[in-house]
């Protein structure tokens, strides 16, 4: 979309722009001729692609990186999150994020559209049916909590995980989503550029993951015991699915089939490839061998970093963003984590938060039209300098980090006191597949 701050460069008339904006925030019964069959067809496809990112993409990406005794637990968590976030989204999440909160609209969307009370076959959101817009946004509310799973993998209680995700999506994801995309204060006061979710999705998930892994503590035996990934072929397949599905995420965020969506697709591919190679070569030079896990991790880092940028940067800007994120995330996942000693099992912070921050900041640089071949399509409306845009981006980053960090801490603390966050030591050694689910991933 994603909203006001990106709409300025849409290749459509001003009237279309107003229709789009009106449709976004106050879904209305609209004339049938507002509906674009092309946009609608693309957005249905994009929605499916984003769902494809979580199940199976992210599930497999994570499943391969854990030990074989926990393979089902991470896949199960991703699957259960997909189902439960869907229900929460239709009950009240969509209303909180994209409803009209009246006098409180700066902060939340209210409950006016709870139970999808106002959504009919004919209600529109811009040029697409509201049902498509609602489902598209739902897939974002699914993947964001699912990303956090990687941080506390192999040790969190399934029940505690379900409760945490339900509360988190309600009081962390939905409000931030509203602030940035739903007409709330961040988007309207600071003119930030976050096309497809650098702050809302990736920094948000990465910070929640860091808080969660700190609160839960290290896995038993970390870092002295070897905990190598049990099946990197699954991880590579999952990473490849994420790469493919991400075009729905990024190009779909235009909510239309137009030039911006096309450019979003192109720059996504460029940044991803650059980041994959940057991680691969950095690892090759540092550790002597180019690894499959490395190139896959680099690709994901690039996808994360181009996410906020893909609606406003050009191809060469994307190349730089990709190279930077691949290298910096490599450092974060391989060096920073070791130095600081936290056990972010699958590097949710190192890839998603760090990649998201790199992307959000560089979006403020490479959206500018004054950089020659590195130019983008323009800064947010009303912002005149790269410095000003980078400042706005920093505000969005800081707000997300602080709000998400503090609330994630409180939620986890309460759950810990009430039911406990962690499985018992015995269950952890046995493996969550058997201990939590009574099954084994592999019976060979």
């Amino acid at each position: 979309m994603k909203s006001l701050m990106c709409s300025f460069k849409n290749h459509r008339g001003l009237t279309g722009l107003y229709v789009l904006m009106a449709g976004l925030f106050v879904p209305t019964l609209a004339m049938a001729d507002d509906l674009s069959a092309g946009d609608t067809a693309w957005m249905i496809t994009a929605t499916v692609l984003v769902l494809f990112m979580t199940i199976p993409g992210l599930s497999l990406f994570y499943a391969g990186m854990v030990r074989s005794k926990n393979v089902l637990s991470v896949m199960m968590q991703c699957f259960a999150i997909t189902a439960s976030m869907t229900i929460l989204w239709v009950l009240f999440g969509y209303s909180l994020a994209f409803g009209d909160g009246g006098s409180m609209n700066g902060f939340w969307g209210g409950f006016s559209n709870a139970f999808l009370a106002n959504m009919t076959v004919d209600s529109m959101s811009g040029t697409i049916p509201e049902s498509v817009f609602m489902t598209f946004q739902m897939t974002f509310a699914i993947i964001t909590p699912a990303l956090i799973v990687g941080a506390f993998a192999e040790r969190m209680k399934f029940s505690a995980m379900l409760i945490f995700m339900a509360i988190w999506v309600t009081i962390v994801y939905a409000p931030i989503c509203h602030w940035v995309w739903g007409g709330g204060w961040l988007g309207s006061k600071f003119a930030i550029l976050d096309f497809a979710g650098g702050t809302v999705v990736h920094i948000n998930a990465g910070v929640a993951g860091l808080v969660a892994c700190l609160m839960l503590g290290k896995r038993k035996g970390y870092p002295t015991t070897a905990m190598p990934p049990h099946n990197l072929t699954l991880t590579l397949i999952g990473a490849a699915m994420l790469w493919v599905g991400w075009f729905g995420f990024n190009a779909g965020s235009e909510l239309a089939a137009d030039g911006t969506a096309g450019m979003a697709m192109a720059v996504t591919q460029i940044a991803t490839a650059a980041a994959a190679l940057a991680w691969m070569f950095a690892e090759w030079m540092t550790h002597g061998k180019p690894s499959a896990l490395g190139i896959a991790s680099g690709a994901v880092a690039g996808l994360v970093a181009i996410t906020p940028a893909c609606g406003s940067v050009g191809p060469m800007g994307a190349l730089v963003i990709g190279l930077a994120s691949g290298f910096i995330c490599f450092k974060a996942a391989s060096t920073l984590k070791r130095k600081l000693g936290y056990d972010d099992s699958l590097d949710v912070f190192g890839v998603h938060a760090v990649g998201g921050i790199v992307g959000a900041l560089l979006t403020g640089v490479f959206s500018a039209t004054t950089l020659g071949v590195f130019s983008g399509q323009g800064l947010a409306e009303g912002v005149n300098s790269i410095g000003g845009q980078v400042f706005n981006q920093s505000v969005a980053i800081m707000v997300t980090i602080i709000y998400c960090g503090v609330l994630s801490f409180i939620i986890l603390k309460v759950i810990d006191v009430v039911i406990g966050l962690r499985v018992s030591e015995e269950e952890e050694i046995e493996g969550l597949d058997l201990a939590s689910h009574g099954e084994r991933g592999y019976i060979l």
Binding site: H287, S291, R338
Partner: protein, 112 residues
């Protein structure tokens, strides 16, 4: 009668089997095993986390032979399993008190 246990590199198994068949060895038992000797293990690296893998995969062959066949069998294994590199494995020879063929009840050398 002697029992020869040979630990070899997995990719040499076919060469060793052929060499032993050529000198008339009638059967063998093969097991996939793990272990280390002078070759030690190797290191694996995942996102900067280095793991030392102590035990390397090897193949263990067990062959029961008559005492007069032992030298030839050892020579066949030594030649065919030799890659010239560290980690080619070892051969252990021990005495064998009795052998019984289950189907016929034959014992001793006749059962080999």
């Amino acid at each position: 009668m002697k029992l020869i246990s040979a630990i070899i590199k997995p990719f040499k198994l076919d060469d060793v089997r052929e060499a032993l068949q050529e000198i008339g060895v009638q059967g063998m038992t093969v097991t996939e095993v793990k272990g280390f000797g002078r070759q030690k293990g190797h290191t694996e690296l995942y996102r900067g986390a280095e793991y030392v893998v102590d035990f390397l995969p090897k193949v263990k062959l067990e062959i029961a032979v008559d005492a007069d066949q032992v030298e030839a069998a050892i020579e066949a294994i030594t030649k065919s399993a030799n890659s010239g590199k560290i980690g080619d494995g070892k051969i252990f020879v021990s005495g064998l008190d009795e052998v019984v063929r289950i189907r016929t009840g034959e014992t001793g050398s006749e059962a080999l």
